[in-house]
């Protein structure tokens, strides 16, 4: 006998509830801190709920802190990193799905290694590379580094999507004399746009959330990304936790929404990759 859905629901939520609480509690506190009146932030004993909701904190934070500049820096770095990663990753993924060539396996292994070498073990060398090249605090160069660390992920994800685009469409176009490049641009590319968009958004989120490379290599606070800008705010002698939490929300909410929507594609992509 299968257990009834109602009974199953009860058991499921009962088991999940501690985890759900531990996940949601910090987010509730974050929001409540963001809109608390200033004097209640440091009240002893603390109040869980604010006596009044200061939603206008979301407006004053722009003039009271530097986050607008840091948000723009992050937007620039993440956009540029995404463009570069897709521009070099998409052709590689195309070759991996459409050609069988010598070195294919070696390239796959190379990608795997680049993916596994985490930034922390390379960060001293990366900083010295930036010093040698005279590009310390260059946002564009940081974007190039982010792109390099995202190449493997882009190629893998794009490859698993490109494999689902049937080859016969291109092949029949060649027979009609369209030429490889033309059929690539007019037949393959339009079909690949959704996949490229999804992978691009992932790369964007990855770059947006990156911490260790930016933290170790950016020296001038005017080039700080949003992650660093917020960490800087927690280092002041008297920390404005309401502004910190608003910044956390502003830095996280847009990408969190994007990410929640993308997650099912990631799981789909991983599964297709696993099955094939």
């Amino acid at each position: 006998m299968r257990r009834s859905k109602r009974k199953q629901t009860l058991i499921a939520w009962l088991v999940l509830s501690p985890v759900v609480f531990v996940i949601l509690f910090p987010f509730v506190v974050t929001l409540l801190t963001a809109i608390k009146p200033r004097n209640e932030l440091t009240a002893i004993p603390p109040h869980f709920l604010p006596s009044q909701f200061h939603w206008e904190n979301f407006l004053t934070v722009w003039s009271e802190t530097n986050i607008s500049h840091a948000l723009l820096n992050s937007l620039y770095i993440s956009t540029l990193a995404t463009l570069i990663a897709i521009l070099v990753g998409a052709p590689a993924a195309y070759a991996m799905t459409r050609f069988d060539f010598r070195g294919r396996r070696a390239y796959r292994f190379f990608l795997l290694v680049t993916q596994m070498l985490s930034p922390i073990v390379l960060v001293l060398g990366l900083f010295r590379l930036m010093v040698t090249a005279g590009v310390v605090d260059s946002l564009s160069f940081l974007a190039v580094i982010y792109a390099a660390f995202n190449v493997a992920f882009c190629v893998w994800m794009l490859q698993s999507y490109f494999e689902t685009i049937p080859k016969d469409l291109e092949e029949s176009a060649w027979i009609e004399g369209a030429g490889r490049v033309r059929s690539l641009l007019t037949i393959f590319l339009p079909l690949a746009v959704p996949a490229i968009t999804i992978v691009a958004m992932f790369t964007f989120v990855n770059s947006w959330n990156e911490f260790i490379i930016a933290f170790s290599t950016l020296r001038d606070s005017s080039s700080y990304t949003i992650q660093l800008g917020i960490i800087e705010m927690t280092g002041y002698y008297s920390i404005r936790w309401d502004y910190v939490m608003i910044s956390v929300i502003l830095a996280s909410l847009p990408v969190a929404i994007l990410f929640s929507w993308l997650q099912k594609h990631l799981i789909g992509g991983l599964t297709t990759g696993a099955v094939k």
């Binding site: 629901t9 088991v15 985890v19 069988d100 390379l122 900083f127 390099a148 969190a256 696993a274």
Partner: protein
């Protein structure tokens, strides 16, 4: 189609060059630095063989930090798998509110580690933090606790936060595995009249095994390298009491100016990682062939 031409290599070249330059240059530079006597500003005073390696590993602190890194990696990964597996199994069943449950469980993945750490730093604040407030209210503690001021309370909490942020990624791998299990074998098992626990033991878990393996290996690599949670909460302190290799490396390189030692430690960590990677490649490529 088999292609002997250079075309596929041209397609691959830009991505190869980008990744190679950005990743190979630092590796070569780090190896070179680690074998030289290096000044605070990175100037090299000559070849000294493996002296930096001896020096960095002889330090008692290194052994302590290495052991702590192993505890950290073991407990975070073990805890993550132990919690993720039942959750993935539940999320694979049919129940009311499944979509909401899944969204909530996946939520920590969407927030950067740095932001998660900032939020927890505030929650753990001894005077104004909501954790003390909550525990006092529930009568679980009698007075405010300075969680992060003592490594004995800070480190276990950092492990718990590490588990919390690793759960979503792990669940998504496990759920990918669960959906790849064909449903007809369950129907056959149903007809045999076997119970849920029997099916779990004899069918689901063995079929899920390769996915659990991959989740373990990838998590070991990520957790071993994890920096923001420990750095933002305690900076490896108090008195190196919560340092793991990544935070220790950061201090050597960017605080103490011990460039040669930091380079040697980077190479040591690189070799450990390479070991993990080969292990993973064995699993991943075996699956493909």
């Amino acid at each position: 189609m088999k292609s002997g031409s250079l075309k596929p290599l041209l397609f691959i070249l830009p991505s190869f060059l980008l990744a190679f330059v950005i990743i190979a240059y630092p590796i070569i530079d780090l190896v070179r630095l680690s074998l030289n006597d290096v000044g605070t500003f990175g100037e090299m005073h000559g070849f000294i063989g493996l002296e930096n390696y001896h020096y960095v590993t002889e330090d008692e602190l290194f052994t302590e930090v290495l052991l702590r890194t192993l505890y950290w990696t073991f407990f975070v990964v073990a805890g993550t798998i132990a919690i993720s597996l039942p959750i993935a199994l539940i999320l694979n069943e049919d129940f009311y509110g499944k979509g909401i449950a899944r969204t909530i469980i996946m939520l920590p993945w969407a927030i950067s580690l740095a932001m998660t750490a900032v939020i927890w730093k505030w929650l753990l604040n001894p005077d104004y933090g909501m954790l003390n407030h909550l525990l006092l209210g529930l009568g679980l503690i009698d007075e405010n606790i300075g969680w992060l001021a003592d490594a004995d309370t800070a480190f276990p909490l950092q492990i718990l936060i590490g588990i919390l942020v690793s759960i979503p990624f792990t669940i998504s791998i496990l759920m990918g595995g669960l959906t790849s299990i064909p449903t007809d074998i369950y129907e056959a098992a149903h007809l045999d009249g076997s119970s849920y626990w029997q099916r779990l033991k004899t069918l689901t878990l063995p079929l899920l095994r390769p996915f659990i393996n991959i989740a373990v290996v990838l998590n070991v690599i990520y957790v071993f390298n994890s920096f923001p949670i420990i750095w933002i909460l305690t900076e490896g302190g108090p008195s190196n009491g919560t340092d793991i290799l990544p935070t220790y490396l950061y201090k050597l390189a960017f605080r103490d100016g011990e460039i040669g030692l930091a380079a040697a430690l980077s190479v040591i960590m690189l070799l450990i990682l390479l070991g993990f990677t080969l292990f993973y490649a064995y699993f991943a490529m075996k699956k493909e062939d």
